[in-house]
Symmetry: C2
Subunit: 105 residues, 2 copies
């Protein structure tokens, strides 16, 4: 079984902070500062790095608004929005997993 796309995909979305960033972008495009404020403990450097990786992977794109002053917003690409069922599945599982842990405590 050789599935380089699966391998690359799961490691992309599982990188530290990336899942949480994607989850916020599923709610709609957001400015850098908005994302930072919504994600406690993330640093500017880390957020910037992760957004750059997601842009390179064509999962996120930058949108420049026509309003003045110009604003840059980060948005999911069409294929990026298709991550919703993946993140939903992770969320569902994470609750089952947490419940299994608690039952043993």
């Amino acid at each position: 079984m050789s599935e380089p796309d699966f391998h690359t995909a799961i490691e992309l979305i599982g990188k530290r902070w990336t899942g949480v960033i994607l989850q916020h972008l599923l709610a709609g495009p957001a400015r850098f500062n908005e994302l930072r404020d919504r994600i406690p403990r993330i640093t500017d450097a880390m957020l910037s790095q992760r957004l750059k990786e997601l842009e390179q992977a064509e999962v996120v794109e930058r949108q420049i608004t026509v309003a003045r002053p110009v604003e840059i917003r980060y948005a999911l690409t069409p294929v990026g929005t298709k991550l919703e069922p993946v993140l939903d599945a992770v969320r569902t599982w994470s609750k089952e997993w947490a419940a299994a842990h608690h039952n043993r405590d």
Copy 2:
């Protein structure tokens, strides 16, 4: 939105090699050497480390066979087997993602 379980879960399964190891274990329990042989390029140290993390997370457990010589096999726990829809969703998305890339080449 504060979802520590989601955060921890997505980073657990997205760690380098972990997704691939889980995918193989979904097919059934396997010995260490079987897993290593099925996963090209993984080192013994890395496989050992990842299995240890998954055991700590109660996603994987060691089974000791009653046969002689005794064999140790790694198996998904009940909550570990519930990762199947998560990994299926990642696989489906990885194909859409790869197709989106290829269309731009």
